[in-house]
Symmetry: C2
Amino acid sequence: MAKEVTSKEENYSLWYNNLVVKADLAENSAVRGCMVIKPYGYAIWEKMQRQLDSMFKETGHQNAYFPLFIPKSFLSKEAEHVEGFAKECAVVTHHRLMVDPNGKGVVVDPDAKLEEELIVRPTSETIIWNTYKNWITSYRDLPILCNQWANVVRWEMRTRLFLRTAEFLWQEGHTAHATMEEAQKETETMVQVYAKFAREYMAVPVVVGHKTESERFAGAVDTMCIEAMMQDGKALQAGTSHFLGQNFAKAFDVKYTTKEGKPEYVWATSWGVSTRLMGALIMAHGDNNGLVLPPRLAPIHVVMVPVFKKPEEEEAVLAKMREFKELMERAGLTVKIDDRDNLRSGFKYAEWELKGVPVRIAMGPRDLENRTAEVVRRDTLEKEFVNWDSLVEHVAALMEQIQQNIYKKALDFRNANTYKVDSWDEFKQKIEEGGFLLCHWDGTKETEAKIQEETKATIRCIPIDSFVCEEEGKCVYSGKPSKRRVIFAKSY
Amino acid sequence: MAKEVTSKEENYSLWYNNLVVKADLAENSAVRGCMVIKPYGYAIWEKMQRQLDSMFKETGHQNAYFPLFIPKSFLSKEAEHVEGFAKECAVVTHHRLMVDPNGKGVVVDPDAKLEEELIVRPTSETIIWNTYKNWITSYRDLPILCNQWANVVRWEMRTRLFLRTAEFLWQEGHTAHATMEEAQKETETMVQVYAKFAREYMAVPVVVGHKTESERFAGAVDTMCIEAMMQDGKALQAGTSHFLGQNFAKAFDVKYTTKEGKPEYVWATSWGVSTRLMGALIMAHGDNNGLVLPPRLAPIHVVMVPVFKKPEEEEAVLAKMREFKELMERAGLTVKIDDRDNLRSGFKYAEWELKGVPVRIAMGPRDLENRTAEVVRRDTLEKEFVNWDSLVEHVAALMEQIQQNIYKKALDFRNANTYKVDSWDEFKQKIEEGGFLLCHWDGTKETEAKIQEETKATIRCIPIDSFVCEEEGKCVYSGKPSKRRVIFAKSY
């Protein structure tokens, strides 16, 4: 089974597509650009959701739900916003089908045309700020700290499972504040929540920074982001947090009365992560045998495969496995015994490796005699025989080790592929090899656009941490003075 | 605040609408028929979701996610299905907006017309069975036991918050089986899961039964349901579970190879509950002071309101409250201290009653002296002074008592409003008073339709339990022989 996955080195892009499908994470549906998230993929997404949701609640947020549809006129109220999304909107124009009078099945009923077209939400700032208008009167109504878990639609032309799909699942936080400072603080708090989640749960090191003006969210004053490096050296934007200033409050006329009785426009943020995180998870850790899942997000921690020749051996092995399953579950692990009787154990090993289960345990008649089990960790594929007395403890400890190890591996990879580059010739050469280039930039849109035109590289972010970037220098392209380095890379 | 809620007796329908809005559960949005679920309402829905989700998983189901859009041609593949849903479909016809050449903002780009229209899912049988076709080859691939949590759209003409909205949130289970018996068993298992949830978590007694042919889901061979009685005596269908036979397998050509190597169509079920459950919860237990929430679904179990006259008293009271909050949280309760300084305690009491919080605790300087607290339970509004030594224990025990008491109250109400009716004159009179009428019916569509025409009552279900209905008799309308009673009622 694992053999069917193209190797990363041969074709990274094909390797990724293969992996998503073969590991049963997702597949393309009959609807252009829309995916089906299969149970195993969805189980990982659920683990992500649960963790993020509890982090949002710990930081004072509540969930709510806003309509799927946005009246066309709402989208138009914020000029930059509509410009950013108009070209990729699914538009609902009718509300009824009818039997075709010409006998060709069902057709759209022309009498059921909507007075105003509805847009399937590409993001919900407009409908939410139209709602907040009625929720906010005084400073006592602020802050509002809402999040919603929802599906959104952006009619992308080129789609890829998890990374870019016409419909995707996400969460979008939308907060309303009395002051600019509070909204800016919220923007940073939430990007840091995302960074913590990426690092500690996904085991993916990320750089936190600000987007340049040209890469900002349509309608934002400032966009912060987390950027991760994939194993082909390309960057992947894994989450964004926007300081929206008073743009949407002005577009929807949302004012509050201050303590002093003065009317004032409300300050806003929005922030989101999506099923794109699944793509990041796969690409950051996967290898040529399949997925490598961080234990904290793995739906199954341990798979147990019985090995036997005679049927009478099977029951003794399975009985022992069930004992250990119960013990391990008590220790907080999720355990699966693969007792399918129509498959060889070698096939099972390959399948669970493909699915990235952190630890595999095999046990046979000889293990029953020796009171041992064969333990294989997915990240290194190292095999060892462990005595029953310490098996549960050993496996539990492995989870933490694997979590740390794959983070370190990804971090080492990123560090090894991050370069300070100071000349344009070196830039052009290095960017083809992949990786993050830390370069000086003159701060102009024009230079940014020219660099992108010539190399396809964009400024991923102006980092605020992780990298020492505060130093004077000269723009790698124009030679004009610069006060700090930014990160250039090709990206997903 | 509670004063603003119209009384149930005066106008039940208005009482309900008032309550939903005043208790901050939901409100109408700017999009016709679509609601905004506010944080407090969503928190209740989340509790429902968590519990149902764990019950689905305990019965072997996994979550997955299927596309929001359904190609028009898919909907047409099952004849009854399309007939049932065609009249209330939101139809996507275009995928882009553009700047109006006549300067009127943004308009639909006529060049971006879709080749085939997409329907926003009203339910997902068709897209899912089109997907299952590729998942199923052999008997070894069965059963498939999937559920999805999703939004769906049905363009209803008359909408009401939670009860009937154009967009609503729900879960839909879709299972595939090798045999008819297994699919039928699944249909019943899931309707019993819903019944258990309604009774034990929502504290709402429900009758489990089969729908008549005319009330069946479009495309089903059999529909099972749970029916609850609201306080106005009307029935509310709270969940359905459908045995779909091989209808969708045939429409989408989904066959499997049996153990014996024979091709065979797959058997199907689908089952769902929606945010309509919120409506049931509100209408089953609410009173003229507001919501009455069952403790197992209440986002806040205990609200503590400090009572004081002098500012120096406030801090002492709050300090003691924080101590008790921590103790109660350790006992598994969710506790809120309402320390808002701009509101009178009487106003706070009314607000938390409106929101249905099961227990309210007030404490003032005298309580500090006496080592007591005033405890008021929401269901009976009974007040008692409880000594600190037993406060936590007392409040924890109250939760179980309230849960049981409101179930019993609802059950007593239902029993008091359920009648065996054997004459048509009595039927016509009783049905106007509300309640469940247990009547003999001759089993024909014609009689069912005539009864509905004359009285607006429908057959809510042919019960399988809860009621002794297996007895011979004569149809209440036609006088023809009947083997069992069914439940007639007016309904939501």
